[in-house]
């Protein structure tokens, strides 16, 4: 606990920016608690996406747009975060964030827009085993989005789509390019797009489960990343693995990395790094 020296002291604010391959996430914390966050999907111009996410988070926090909040960047595009004073590896941020949200977590399954990674760690946060897929998008959000688009099912209608499925098909291709042809063939054969989509969800969940099982799934297991925000996929992965994912205290699984980065910034990770931009 830090001693408060007087009523006029400003509360200490820290920010974390997780710039992934397909979305920018910013979280602002005060005394270790999230006060605001912003998630912005992007197709291009990652530098601008990070700026816009920070502006969104400041607005939600009721702060002026020119407020300087010490920020740690992480993720695929950490170098493109112009307002960051430092960077940290994504897994370090994830583990830091998870330890704050639920100290019982020992394994994290991170499924983002384009990559997937599973890691277990000790009670002290020391990394033990890792398995990841970076050369294939077969078990990622991009796969789901591409197929949902091919089937003309909006992402927010996925739940209804799954309920409408009667005889789910079995999708055998894990490559999104091949799978797109495969789902179109199913449609041409007369299957309903709901049956095809149910097959796709099950295929993705089974692939995520398969990669996750390459390491010891030490309980509790948390699922994070953009795909973890999809309750359907999360539930299907739980069924495939025969477990229930750890509670994350109501924090959206997509922002755990940004949250961890903000906590690390507050831990003093930025000490000794020049304040302001260009400190990396």
């Amino acid at each position: 606990m830090r001693a408060m020296t007087g009523g006029s002291e400003r509360r200490a604010l820290y920010a974390g920016c997780d710039l992934g391959i397909s979305s920018a996430k910013v979280v602002i914390v005060s005394n270790g608690a999230i006060i605001a966050g912003e998630t912005l999907p992007y197709d291009n111009f990652p530098h601008d996406a990070a700026d816009a996410a920070m502006q969104g988070a400041l607005r939600r926090a009721g702060l002026a747009p020119d407020t300087v909040v010490p920020c740690l960047a992480t993720g695929f595009g950490d170098k493109a975060v112009r307002f960051a004073a430092g960077t940290a590896p994504h897994i370090t941020c994830l583990v830091r964030g998870l330890r704050a949200l639920n100290p019982r977590v020992r394994t994290v399954i991170d499924v983002g827009g384009h990559t997937m990674r599973v890691t277990n760690f000790s009670g002290e946060g020391e990394l033990l085993e890792t398995a990841f897929v970076e050369e294939c998008s077969g078990a990622t959000g991009m796969f789901l989005e591409t197929i949902a688009q091919a089937l003309e099912i909006p992402m927010d209608e996925m739940a209804a789509a799954l309920n409408a499925a009667e005889h789910p098909v079995r999708i055998t291709n894990t490559c999104v390019v091949f799978a797109e042809s495969e789902v179109i063939s199913f449609i041409n054969e007369g299957y309903s797009r709901y049956d095809v989509f149910a097959g796709v969800i099950d295929g993705v969940a089974s692939k995520i489960g398969g990669i996750a099982r390459r390491i010891d799934l030490v309980p509790e297991v948390a699922m994070v990343g953009g795909v973890a925000g999809n309750a359907l996929v999360r539930g299907t992965v739980e069924r495939h693995l025969g477990l229930t994912f750890a509670d994350l205290a109501g924090v959206h699984p997509q922002v755990v990395g940004a949250f961890g980065a903000a906590l690390l910034a507050g831990d003093g990770c930025l000490d000794g790094i020049a304040e302001g931009r260009g400190g990396v």
């Binding site: 197709d43 291009n44 695929f76 384009h114 050369e135 490559c175 390019v177 042809s181």
Partner: protein
């Protein structure tokens, strides 16, 4: 002599009428639930437009996915053969055709009579197609039509090493994050596509002249890169590449009547 070609594909159905050595008219419609209906509708539309009836057509050849069931055709020929024959009929010096569309890319070689010698097609993988270029252009933040001109301004082309177009998308984003110049990234994209075409050509014993058609022909960057790689000029085919199969089918019908085939 009036001949017709009818190409019933997986997505669209095409009909072409050739009279006395020149194209009289053409029609393209989206496919109907069955191939017979697609063929009958597209040919019916074209004949009405031209004021002709089935009795006026001396011979019709069908091609494409549904070629076996076209009720008014006297013969059917494979789509790739028709594509080659049609291209050669349009530009008689052509021996090699590169057709890069949105969803697939094919290269074919014909002999001096326009008959197919060999060909390569992208299968399920979309590397080298217009679609993959669109995805990479989006990651760079420019329209796909700007990639070609932009690439010509490059001084130090970026290298895209992945073979999968999904992974190329991530590569492009990584180059953007690293601050690589947009022209250099565009040049990398152009080289990636050209390299794929070159790789398809490598399996063939190809000869000049080489023609390009489809979306790829509209990309000055890819065309120039291919010309540099192959050491030869490219000609552009003067017809909608979608119609090439139907044109070739009609030409085969004409060949038959002239006793050439």
């Amino acid at each position: 002599m009036i001949v017709a070609g009818c190409d019933v594909g997986a997505v669209s159905a095409k009909a072409v009428v050739i009279a006395d050595g020149s194209i009289r008219g053409s029609e393209i419609i989206p496919v109907r639930p069955d191939a017979v209906q697609s063929a009958t509708e597209v040919m019916g539309l074209l004949l009405r437009k031209l004021g002709l009836s089935y009795g006026d057509i001396d011979r019709c050849v069908s091609t494409g996915y549904g070629r076996g069931v076209v009720p008014f055709a006297q013969d059917d020929v494979s789509e790739v053969s028709c594509h080659g024959r049609g291209a050669h009929w349009l530009v008689p010096g052509v021996r090699t055709i590169i057709d890069g569309g949105g969803q697939d890319c094919k290269v074919l070689c014909v002999n001096r009579r326009g008959l197919l010698r060999d060909f390569r097609m992208t299968g399920k993988c979309d590397a080298g197609t217009g679609r993959s270029m669109e995805i990479m252009a989006r990651s760079l933040g420019v329209d796909v039509s700007e990639i070609g001109p932009l690439s010509l301004r490059s001084t130090s082309p970026a290298s895209l090493v992945e073979s999968c177009s999904v992974m190329n998308e991530i590569e492009v984003k990584r180059l953007v994050v690293e601050g690589v110049d947009a022209a250099d990234i565009a040049a990398g994209i152009v080289r990636r596509i050209a390299r794929h075409v070159r790789w398809m050509l490598d399996g063939l014993d190809f000869e000049e002249d080489i023609a390009v058609s489809g979306g790829i022909a509209k990309n000055i960057g890819v065309v120039k890169q291919l010309e540099a790689m192959l050491g030869t000029r490219m000609v552009e085919l003067p017809a909608d590449p979608q119609l090439m199969g139907a044109i070739g089918a009609a030409v085969f019908a004409s060949d038959h009547l002239s006793g050439c085939a």
